[in-house]
């Protein structure tokens, strides 16, 4: 039971991290990105490349994913979304789909379609180390995933609550025209926010890549979909909502395997989400308060 709970929380913390990326981007830029699952994949591959070619250090792999996906997010925002700021929502949505296709195809060209894995001799120690808690063994990687995810989430909260930049981002989210009038460089805020949200996806990617030691171009598709659903369930603009919903979906999935059958895993997860939306159409933590903040 305890083991399954840890399994669920691990899986859920990845959904939560990804959902947090969706939420941060939506909260400020008021746009949904369908390239998030692919940014996740880019994060995973950058960790993989650094680990296999430079130095076998999990920390360095995470740093690589952070830097790559932050820059990738900033680049996407500056190249495409900045120009589309006043265009209809569907335009930027289409561009995110375009980015997702481009990123997947690039990965396919660079790494090929084969599932890549870090050679076992390099990762064996990391992959199969475990820690004993009472009667049960928990794997070191599982704890790392959970630990890093919690750390990142906590840091995000502190950043938004206390830092100057975080405050500026929150101000922009509330009303970007008013923020501009107060001297906030809104363009810069949008870029940083998109980059920051993408970085969350990248971190989730490198964690899950190492957790399963599997890297492949389509690795972000299903996870991206689940995480987007978690963000919606959470209320789309609510950070605590995204985290709670992500963890809940992870735990529900794991227990649907344990109590029912793994065939029903995704079915039960989506029915669960559907049920929550029926009961609370605005999402778990959605207040509707942010809606219309930018007059749309």
């Amino acid at each position: 039971m305890f083991e399954q709970l840890i399994n669920g929380l691990t899986q859920g913390s990845i959904y939560a991290l990804l959902a947090l990326g969706f939420t941060i981007i939506f909260g400020v830029l008021r746009m949904v990105t369908f390239a998030h699952g692919e940014v996740f994949m880019v994060g995973a591959y950058s960790g993989f490349v650094v680990f296999t070619h430079l130095q076998d250090s999990l920390v360095l792999a995470i740093v690589a994913a952070v830097v790559t996906t932050f820059l990738l997010g900033a680049l996407m925002e500056i190249v495409a979304f900045r120009r589309l700021r006043d265009a209809p929502h569907f335009s930027s949505l289409l561009v995110t789909i375009g980015f997702s296709v481009v990123l997947t195809q690039l990965a396919l060209l660079i790494f090929g379609a084969e599932v890549e894995a870090i050679p076992m001799r390099q990762i064996e120690g990391l992959a199969f180390s475990e820690i004993r808690i009472g009667e049960v063994y928990v794997s070191y990687l599982q704890l790392s995933v959970l630990g890093v995810a919690i750390l990142i989430m906590a840091a995000t909260f502190l950043f938004f609550k206390y830092s100057r930049l975080g405050t500026a981002i929150r101000a922009t989210a509330q009303d970007h025209e008013a923020a501009m009038a107060m001297g906030v460089d809104v363009n810069r805020i949008f870029t940083v926010t998109f980059a920051f949200g993408s970085m969350m996806g990248g971190i989730a990617g490198v964690l899950i890549g190492f957790y399963y030691n599997l890297f492949y171009p389509t690795m972000g598709v299903m996870l991206g979909l689940k995480a987007f659903s978690a963000a919606v369930i959470g209320g789309l603009a609510s950070m605590p909502g995204a985290i709670v919903a992500g963890l809940m979906i992870g735990v529900v999935e794991v227990f649907s395997v344990d109590f029912v059958n793994s065939s029903f895993r995704h079915l039960i997860a989506f029915v669960f989400m559907f049920a929550i939306l029926l009961i609370r159409p605005q999402g778990l933590f959605g207040s509707g308060q942010l809606r219309g903040a930018r007059g749309d």
């Binding site: 399994n7 090929g112 599932v115 894995a117 992959a127």
Partner: protein, 382 residues
């Protein structure tokens, strides 16, 4: 939720449109087309992109090797064979579209593909209606060969392999409580059903049958569940990507038992993915790299010379499909409808995955070898 679904469809369409476009361009730019006047065209429908793209690329390597050798050996009636490769992503819907394009193209004599039984079976009616031979390298679903007079099976039926494994587990190893994990597609469901049926007939208690979504990589929950049931053995019907992940995660969850696998025997990739977690698994092999049979050995050597890696079962089946296609084409005199009948007159065919006789049965019966992994290599189980 509704809007999410819609966007997924949009994205899928865009992806297939783009990849389709790429292949059309690639095909029209290929040098053979510009230079050789006299060619015979074989359509190849395989997953080139998507989750199953890697299997498609192995099969394609095998087919290409067979075709190169045939071209060096005079081609078909003095004409060079040219492959027209289209991406189905092994999606049954895409496979049907590819089939429609192939049968509409008068220059294409026969078709090789698809990868999954599901995709091959979805496309079969299109080929059957056009009288075009559909040579499926890997379709192992029992219903496939019965779908028409032009469906050529290269792989042995899955049932035979599953039953072989079930008897091995029950009779020879005396396993009494077995759990199963299978990929939820036509092939996996069949592989699992045949195993479970034979195991029950042998008096084995089947603890649970767990289906997994194709492409899924998180198995922590399912292996933890199975561990708590304390099985004597676990049967897994999955190709190497999922199989490797299941073995690694089983090790992490401390699930220690005898694993049986269908779908990844002899795969070097499995050894890379699972490392020491693959030690001791039991698998039945149709193709094994150290086979001393002359045809099989010649294939392995030619493949290694060309690609610098050992081939796997998928490449070997692709090669055999290529050999069968060439034989059929040479006997058909350029007539589409004559290809399949010519193939079914083949007796004593020898391929990289063994010999069989289409005159005896259109479902090849092949011999299995008992194999396992020891010290990081596939060896005979003794």
């Amino acid at each position: 939720m509704i809007s999410t679904g819609r966007h997924m469809i949009t994205r899928r369409h865009i992806m297939s449109a783009i990849s389709g476009g790429v292949f059309v361009i690639a095909a029209s730019l290929s040098p053979q087309m510009a230079t050789a006047q006299e060619t015979v065209k074989f359509g190849v429908s395989l997953p080139i992109t998507g989750d199953m793209a890697e299997y498609g690329s192995f099969i394609r390597n095998g087919i290409e090797l067979a075709i190169e050798q045939a071209n060096a050996d005079g081609g078909v009636d003095g004409k060079k064979i040219e492959l027209v490769v289209e991406d189905s992503r092994s999606d049954p819907r895409e496979a049907v579209l590819v089939a429609e394009r192939f049968v509409a193209n008068d220059e294409i004599l026969l078709e090789i593909g698809d990868f999954t039984s599901s995709a091959s079976m979805a496309a079969a009616p299109v080929y059957e209606a056009a009288g075009m031979a559909q040579i499926a390298p890997t379709a192992s679903h029992p219903d496939y060969s019965g779908l028409g007079n032009n469906m050529v099976r290269v792989m042995a039926m899955q049932q035979a392999e599953s039953q072989f494994l079930a008897r091995w587990a029950a009779q020879d190893m005396g396993k009494a409580k077995i759990a199963t994990i299978y990929v939820n597609n036509d092939w996996g469901v069949q592989a699992n059903a045949a195993f479970v049926e034979e195991a029950k007939a042998q008096g084995v208690e089947v603890l649970t049958e767990e289906g997994i979504t194709p492409g899924e990589k998180d198995f922590a929950a399912v292996v933890t569940k199975i561990k708590n049931m304390e099985p004597d053995a676990v049967f897994i019907a999955a190709q190497y990507a999922e199989m490797g992940a299941i073995l690694g995660q089983s090790r992490r969850a401390r699930l220690q038992t005898q694993f049986f696998n269908s779908g990844a025997p002899q795969s070097p990739e499995l050894l890379e993915l699972a490392g020491s977690a693959a030690e001791g698994i039991a698998a039945a092999a149709l193709y094994f790299a150290d086979n001393t049979d002359p045809v099989s050995r010649a294939f392995t050597e030619a493949y290694v010379a060309k690609h610098d890696v050992k081939p796997n079962l998928f490449a070997a089946l692709g090669y055999d499909a290529g050999l069968i296609a060439v034989t059929g084409a040479r006997a058909a005199g350029g007539e589409r409808s004559a290809v399949a009948p010519a193939i079914f007159k083949l007796s004593g065919f020898q391929g990289a995955t063994g010999g069989f006789d289409y005159t005896v049965s259109r479902d090849p019966v092949k011999a299995y070898a008992r194999t396992t992994v020891r010290d990081g290599a596939w060896v005979m189980f003794d």
